[in-house]
Each structure stands twice: as C-alpha cells, then as structure tokens.
C-alpha cells in the first residue's frame, strides 16, 4: 500500500505547481478607469430606465430637430422615405407584416438608446441628450403613444408602455445548454 502512495504523491505535486503557474500567467494588465473618463462611452439604456441621463424634451422641440436632421431619410413626420417609416403600422399578423415602432417595439427605452447611439446615420453621437429626449418624445407622440405636450425624461420615458410589450415568446434559456 505504501509503495503505491508515494508515486501518487509524486504525480499530485507537479500538477499543483502547474496549476498555480497557469494562474500566475494571467497578467492583469487592465488599467482602472474612472466613471468620469468613461462617461462619453457609457451610453447603454436598460429597459427599466437605468442609464437615462438628466434632462428632457417635448414633441414640439423634437419636431424641429426631426425636420432638420431626420426627415431627409425617414420622410416628413416620420412617414418614411429612403429609410424606414417611424410612424404607424398595421397590427403584426405574420412575418410578412412590416415591423414598426408602434406595432412591434416592446420597450420605449430602446428608442432613446438607438437614436442616441446610431442616428442620424451619417453623424451618430452628434445629438445632445436634450435633442434625443425631444426626438423620442416626438416619435412617440406621432404614434399617439404619449400626448402632444408630454415631456420625456428619465422618470417618464420608462413608464411609456409599448403596445406589443407582451407579443414575445422568450426562447432563452430553454434552448440553451
């Protein structure tokens, strides 16, 4: 019995050494970054409103920005042009139905997040937070999802309930190993 133990020990020791050597290899070269240095990139808005900045905007303000910066591609009053319409849409029947903000988007926060990160298409990140709130308010009001005079801000925007909020079947994690 004792003769079988010592070779086993001999095997265990190098394995432990190897494991600690591997662990020591992670060089930990990430540099700490402060919230202030990160702020221009820290733009995710979560559906519960986490990440929404201070400020706000109304449909009236949004209409002005829209005419100047968005209408060229999305048409006057969001009716569509070279690119997608931002207003209207028949209820979704099947995958031949056109997905629109009003008939498909489940969360209002996505509108703020997407406009701020990606639009206008040729000058992304050129809008102020106030302008993004105003454009969000304008598009929601064109779709009659808020009133013509409602202000959108960090408190009001996440509360806007989108019509197709419950139109989804969540596949993850059922089909995920």
């Amino acid at each position: 019995m004792s003769t079988r133990k010592s070779p086993a020990l001999l095997i265990v020791v190098p394995l432990v050494l190897l494991a600690s050597a591997l662990f020591a290899q992670a060089p930990k070269l990430g540099k700490p970054i402060s919230a202030a240095d990160l702020s221009d990139w820290d733009i995710n808005i979560l559906p519960d409103g986490t990440g929404l900045p201070p400020g706000g905007g109304t449909p009236v303000d949004g209409a002005r920005v829209y005419a100047a910066k968005c209408a060229v591609c999305h048409g006057p009053e969001g009716k569509g042009g070279a690119n997608a319409r931002l207003v209207g849409g028949e209820p979704i029947k099947n995958f031949e139905s056109e997905k629109t903000i009003a008939n498909f988007w489940p969360y209002s926060t996505t509108l703020f997040d997407y406009i701020r990160r990606a639009m206008p298409y040729r000058q992304p990140r050129s809008l102020t937070n106030e302008e993004v709130y105003a454009l969000t308010a304008y598009i929601l009001s064109l779709n009659k999802l808020i009133g013509e005079h409602d202000t959108m801000n960090a408190q009001t925007l996440p509360k806007v309930r989108m019509p197709n909020r419950d139109g989804f079947i969540v596949r993850f994690p059922d089909k995920t190993p």
Partner: protein, 439 residues
C-alpha cells in the same frame, strides 16, 4: 484495359448503398487513386477536350517576383463575394461567401461573409480601447498591446447571420446560387483571449446576469449576452485564420460567441457592461426577433441550430455528364459537434451515411463527402445532419409548419424571417443543371 477503364469497372461493380447511385462512403478509399481518377468534374466553364501536351510559356521561363503579401492566381478572379450595396448607400451592406467555389472547412479571410450596418470602420489599433465596466468590482480598460500579452486560445468556429438562408422562407423555391441562398455563414480559426479571463480580472458582482457588448462602429452596434455564455466559451478574438481579424469581421478585435447568432458576435468591440438585465437593444428587441405564424415573435433566439447543405453540386455548379462524382457539403451546429450526416439522391426515400472529414470540431464547419454514380437521369439530392446533443435537422415542411412561409415570392435579398435550418433539396436536371426545389 487502361487503369481508368479498370477503375470504372471496379466502381460499376460496387453495389449502391442507397437509391439513385449513392455509393458507400469508403468506396473511393477502397479503390484508391484509380477510382478517384474516374471521377467526373463539376462544371463552371465547358472543359477543353484532350490534346497533345506541350510546354507552355510559364514552363519555359522564370516566373514573376514573389509578392510580400500573397494574392491568388489571376485565374481565380471570379471567386468573389456578392455585394448587396456596393455603393455604400446609407443602409446595411452584405457580402456573401461563394460556398460552391470553395472546399474544405475554413473560409479564406477575404471571402468570409460580412454584414455591416454602416460600413467597415477604419480603426487605428493603437487608439482602440476595450472597456469592461458595470456590475464589476473594478472597471478596466485594455489596449490591443496589453491584450496581446494574455494567454490565448485558438478554436474553430463558424459565424452565421441569424438571417442566413432567409430566401428559403419563400413559398416558391427561388432559383439562385448557393451563395445567394446560404452565403451568410463562414468558418475560421479564431485566436484570442477568453472573455472569462478579463471579466474575472474586473471582478463580477454577484448581481451581474448579462453583458451588453458594443462596437466602435458608427451605429455603436450593441447586443446583450447572458453572463453564462460570456463565461463559457466567449472570446475576444484578435486573429482570424492566423492573421489579424479582417476589417469587415471586426478589426482589431471582436467578440466571438461560438455557435450563437452572428449579430451578437460584436465586431470592433470596445465596451462590455455587466448588467442585471438585458439591454433590449434595437437588434434584439426588433431586428433579430423572428415573427411566428400566430403573430407573436421569438425573443433571444440565440443558437444557430444544426444545419447542412450540399455545396457540390449546387446551383451554379453543374454536373458535366453522367459518371462518378463526390457529393460534398458542410454541416455545423451551435450545439456542438456534428455526429452524423445522411445523404439522399432520391428525395429522401433512401439514405446513405456520408463520411465526415476529421477532425470534427465543435461549433465549426464539418465537411461531409459521399461518392455517387450519376446515371444522367433526374435526381433529388438532400443532406440531413445530426449533432452530438441529439438534435436533427428538420425537414422544410416541419420548419415551415412551426415558423411559417411567405404568401408571395420575396426578393432573394429579403430577410422575411430568421433561423432557417431545414434540409436543402437540389434537383439534378437532365443536362446536369442544379435547381433549388422543395421536396
């Protein structure tokens, strides 16, 4: 008897293992090189007839200077991706892989499919940064140089657009090349730093359940990924088939999520935020949420499920007369390794097991091959794949029953729905032409 005639005799004496001339997967191995010599070639251009051999100019003088960065032969110029938006108008651009003109299991970097929602950014690798923040103990920023000092891993992985094969949702089969039908999937060896190493370094808060990853491209494209996947086999990939990742595929670094929907594999990745909830970003809330026949839509359809298609022959790659061919194609699954591929030449009435090219990698292209004697008559070729998790590729009617099809024939470039992985049927016409059919 010439060796070629002898080989033909041997092949002819082989009993088919399934209808319409499918031979045993090891028939060519048994017959060796002689049988291979009896093979017929697929046809892109009419082949010249045999003539007396003579030395050509390139054999009679030294050749050109060797270039510092290799370029393929000028005779291969037709092997290109097809572009959906070559003038870079303000909308998405797609470049599709020509599967019928390639063989093996890797996609050359220049032919890897690309979808860019606002062009390919021209990123200076010295200035690029990767930030990890959110629900972590210490937010961290990494440069490319620092990441290059981490322990790396290499792995094969396919990347497939969720909308690949969307033309197959058409109610009538669309006649187009395999490139147009299935060209939004490619496979590479990716090398980089496991994402878990970097997340561990930042220190994940127990409240963290998701990451939201973002690119440095103009749309700042962002997607949410469950933390379980981020800590499993996710990678910050720096190399693609040995060289730095191509600009269209995410230079200088991309998120690689083996087996998961292409759009989630964030290219030009610059920021990863650990969160307690998914971001419901534009692409997960709207674009990659396929609508079902009852009007509801799937959310978070992450996995690219088991799939296969025959590339040789396929539309665009005809047969040049009756005789012996190797049927070959690619199979892959986001759930692991391919375990089996069956091939039929009679529309699914009988099946023969194809040989799988070793090694078979998890979540990567597996090339399958099967010898076939085409008698010149009509044939209906199909392949069906299984993965090691036990999933079987569905028939088209099964898929369409669950997911729907169009009422009008859409444009071949339209993305009516996503995650199509059903069996592909090719009809072989009398002249050797190949057509997309539903069977």
């Amino acid at each position: 008897m010439t060796p070629r005639d002898q080989a033909k005799r041997e092949l002819e004496s082989l009993t088919p293992v399934a209808g319409n001339g499918l031979l045993h997967r090891r028939a060519f191995l048994r017959g060796g090189a002689m049988l291979a010599g009896a093979m017929s070639a697929y046809r892109l251009v009419p082949s010249a007839s045999a003539q007396k051999l003579a030395d050509d100019p390139w054999s009679l003088a030294p050749g050109a200077a060797v270039p510092d960065y290799g370029v393929r032969s000028r005779f291969e110029k037709n092997v290109v991706r097809t572009l959906s938006n070559p003038k870079a108008e303000p909308r998405t651009q797609h470049a599709r892989t020509p599967h019928h003109l390639l063989n093996g299991t890797f996609t050359p970097n220049s032919l890897h499919f690309v979808i860019s929602h606002a062009g390919d950014p021209d990123i200076d690798p010295e200035k690029h940064r990767l930030v990890i923040h959110g629900l972590v103990k210490q937010p961290l920023v990494f440069t490319l140089d620092t990441l290059a000092r981490y322990p790396m891993v290499s792995r094969m992985a396919f990347v497939e657009c969720g909308g690949n094969s969307a033309p197959m949702f058409s109610n009538e089969p669309i006649q187009a090349s395999i490139q147009a039908l299935h060209g939004l999937v490619s496979c590479s060896e990716w090398t980089g730093v496991p994402l878990s190493t970097l997340l561990d370094e930042a220190g994940i808060d127990p409240k963290g359940k998701w990451i939201v990853a973002e690119g440095g491209d103009a749309p700042h494209l962002s997607r949410s990924v469950p933390l379980t996947k981020a800590l499993d086999d996710a990678m910050i990939a720096l190399y693609q088939n040995g060289e730095r990742v191509m600009p269209g595929n995410g230079y200088p670094m991309r998120l690689l999520l083996p087996g998961w929907e292409g759009n989630m594999n964030i290219k030009w990745v610059r920021r990863i935020q650990v969160t307690d909830q998914p971001g419901m970003t534009f692409y997960e809330a709207r674009t990659y949420a396929p609508i079902l026949p009852n009007g509801k839509a799937y959310r978070f359809y992450f996995i690219q499920e088991v799939k296969s298609f025959i590339t040789h022959p396929s539309p665009g790659l005809a047969l040049s007369g009756p005789g012996f061919y190797e049927i070959s194609g690619i199979a892959y699954s986001g759930n692991g390794r391919i375990s089996k591929v069956m091939v039929s030449a009679d529309g699914g009435r009988s099946w023969a097991q194809a040989a799988l090219q070793a090694p078979v990698h998890s979540k990567a292209f597996t090339r399958f091959r099967l010898p076939w004697r085409w008698d010149g008559g009509p044939a209906l070729l199909q392949s069906r794949a299984w993965d090691e998790a036990g999933n079987m590729q569905p028939s088209r009617s099964e898929l369409v029953a669950a997911r729907g099809q169009t009422t009008k024939v859409p444009a071949v470039t339209a993305f009516t729905s996503q995650h199509y992985n059903a069996i592909q049927s090719w009809s072989i016409e009398r002249g050797g032409e190949v057509r997309n059919v539903y069977a």
